[in-house]
């Protein structure tokens, strides 16, 4: 099993979620994060003080899937999250060794 973690632009969440359900992935976990990268931030001015804000709001999506699904998931996310502009985000794939569904104690793929 793997966990596919994607950093995307916040307003893309719904589309990504739909893309994933479309390929039969029915669970995911979302975290609000701030991202720093190529995409340039903005300046905020409060009276005298000017702040260059380089951390931008992003969403982190984590999806645990069976290994064979990884490519489909990556493609689905890429397609849905893409705007073509700098800051669209990244996808990372982690190996996981175990998965458990707390409610039932089911293990691994059954747990997803």
């Amino acid at each position: 099993m793997k966990i596919v973690m994607a950093i995307i632009k916040p307003f893309k969440l719904e589309e990504v979620r739909d893309a994933l359900t479309a390929i039969g992935v029915h669970g995911l976990t979302v975290t609000e994060v701030k991202g720093y990268g190529r995409q340039k931030g903005h300046t905020e001015i409060y009276r005298g003080a000017e702040y260059a804000v380089s951390f931008l709001p992003k969403l982190k999506i984590e999806v645990a899937v069976a290994t064979d699904l990884v490519t489909k998931v990556i493609d689905a996310i890429t397609a849905a999250a893409k705007t073509g502009q700098i800051g669209d985000g990244k996808i990372f794939v982690f190996p996981i060794e175990q998965a458990v569904r707390i409610r039932t104690g089911e293990r691994d793929v059954d747990a997803l």
Partner: protein, 492 residues
């Protein structure tokens, strides 16, 4: 209303006031009336309350309903409008709304009081009672707060997408070409004492010639009023001038600007109903100044307007709460406070004319009607009026304006009409025919809808052609706070 007299020495006024009762006794009508300090105190408070309605009241009521990324833009828009209009009002607004406009007097006033010329601490303004006046500066600032909040109401319709620069220009134009004329048409008149004096002169006139002159004078005084006022339409505190006026301008605006990016697709839940509740509560509290203040003095009628405001709002809240509970399965805070505001809107034109029971019924009706409109009709029509400016202010305002023609009826517990001529110097009951009155009310509503609807459309188009009304899609996604103002509302 007009400047009926001017005593010198503001400082001395204090002393003079102490003699009111007495001097009034002594020289009866002869003496120029001086303000009663109770009236002055009340009107000062009323003015402060109406300012509180806009800031922070309205700003929070609206701001809480937008998404976090646009909160600050709404606050900025409302605050900026209030500040800018306050200045315009001193420069020319008050004068154009509340002085005689000569040839154009049916539609607009003149520049006689531009820069508040002659409006000094000793100048007084008429009220609705013979022999009762208030310092004109108070009347001026009370009316100023109305001019400040009305355009601010409009921003709710196209919130989350309008360019700030465009908004500023549009509002200046709108106040000048839409608000001032409507205010003049509905509220400008010569005042009870001017009429009484002319009427007395007529009564006193002996020979035919004198009679003719006096009659002419009286006709002139009576004719010295705005068009809608002369139609006999009633609008105690601004159902047409404020709510219908702003409501229709908002509808036109949100249609012209188009829907928000993601409208209907993305979640656009209010970012803080807490702020919306605070705003609604302050609107309610401030509205006492708006409605009861519109009586311009502190007497039993003021109390009536106060009570009507209280119960109509409560009834509107209760109505929306229970209707939504029944229709959607859950009683919601947003629904209830929306109903309260709808009740306040509807009772605005009726507040000094209806009776408490009539106001309760009005509130119940409008609460249900606006719920239906905002939850059903709006979706059917499919325009994106972000904060339901039309659905609440215009729809509620129309219901209230027309209902005023009915609820004023003594048979409905209303106070009836007033005749200032029958017994010069006293407010005698006028003769009321429901059909006629309702007809007058409808005429006033229609003229307001057309004037503001068409006028606003033109102004939007001009601004769009010159500056452009709407921000770019990227800016809209990022949120107006960062994109337009370089600030964020919250940094928790």
């Amino acid at each position: 209303m007009t400047l009926t007299s001017s005593l010198k020495a503001g400082f001395a006024a204090g002393t003079l006031l102490a003699l009111t009762g007495a001097s009034a006794l002594a020289q009866a009508a002869a003496a120029a009336p001086v303000p009663n300090k109770g009236d002055t105190a009340w009107m000062l408070v009323a003015s402060a309350l109406v300012l509180m309605m806009s800031i922070p009241g309205l700003a929070l009521f609206y701001g809480g309903l937008v998404r976090t990324k646009n909160m600050l833009s709404v606050l900025t828009q409302v605050f900026a409008i209030v500040s800018i209009v306050a200045i315009l009002w001193v420069l020319y607004g008050y004068s154009l709304a509340f002085t005689n406009g000569g040839g154009l007097n049916d539609y607009i006033g003149g520049f006689g009081k531009a820069f508040l010329k002659g409006v000094d601490p000793a100048a007084v303004a008429a009220t609705f009672s013979n022999g009762v006046v208030i310092p004109e500066l108070v009347y001026m600032v009370f009316q100023m707060t109305f001019a400040c909040i009305t355009p601010a109401l409009i921003v709710g319709a196209f919130a989350e997408r309008m360019k700030f620069s465009a908004l500023v220009v549009f509002m200046v134009l709108w106040v000048t070409f839409i608000y001032l004329p409507i205010a003049h048409m509905v509220w400008y008149w010569a005042g009870p004492d001017a009429i009484a004096d002319a009427a007395k002169a007529l009564a006193a006139a002996t020979d035919g010639a004198a009679k003719k002159v006096a009659q002419a004078k009286l006709d002139e005084v009576v004719a010295d009023a705005g068009l809608i006022y002369k139609w006999g339409a009633l609008d105690f505190a601004g159902g047409t001038v404020v709510h219908i006026n702003a409501g229709i301008a908002g509808l036109v605006g949100c249609v012209v600007l188009g829907k928000r990016v993601g409208y209907g697709k993305e979640l656009m839940s209010p970012h803080s109903l807490t702020m919306t509740m605070i705003g609604a509560s302050l609107l309610w509290v401030g509205w006492f100044g708006f409605n009861a203040g519109s009586n311009l003095e502190a007497n039993g009628t003021t109390a009536l307007a106060f009570v009507n405001t209280m119960v109509a709002s409560a009834a509107g809240a209760v109505a929306w709460l229970f209707v939504e509970w029944g229709a959607k399965g859950k009683p919601s805070l947003l629904g209830m406070v929306s109903g309260a505001v709808a009740g306040l809107v509807a009772v605005t034109p009726a507040s000094g004319f209806a009776g408490p029971m009539g106001s309760i019924i009005l509130g119940l009706v409008v609460g249900g009607a606006c719920f239906f409109f905002c939850s059903t009709v709006k979706n059917a029509l499919g325009y994106d009026d972000t904060l339901d400016v039309f659905g609440i202010h215009c729809v509620g305002g129309i219901i209230g304006a027309i209902a005023t023609g009915i609820l004023v009826s003594p048979s409905m517990g209303g106070v009836g009409l007033v005749d200032y001529i029958a017994k010069p110097g006293e407010a005698a009951p006028g003769d009321y025919v429901m059909a006629t009155q309702v007809f007058n009310q409808i005429k006033a509503v229609l003229l307001t809808l057309v004037w503001s609807g068409v006028g606003s459309l033109i102004l939007y188009k001009i601004v769009d052609a010159t500056i452009g009304l709407r921000v770019t899609q990227e800016q809209e996604r990022e949120g107006l706070d960062i994109a337009e103002h370089g600030e964020r509302a919250y940094n928790y």
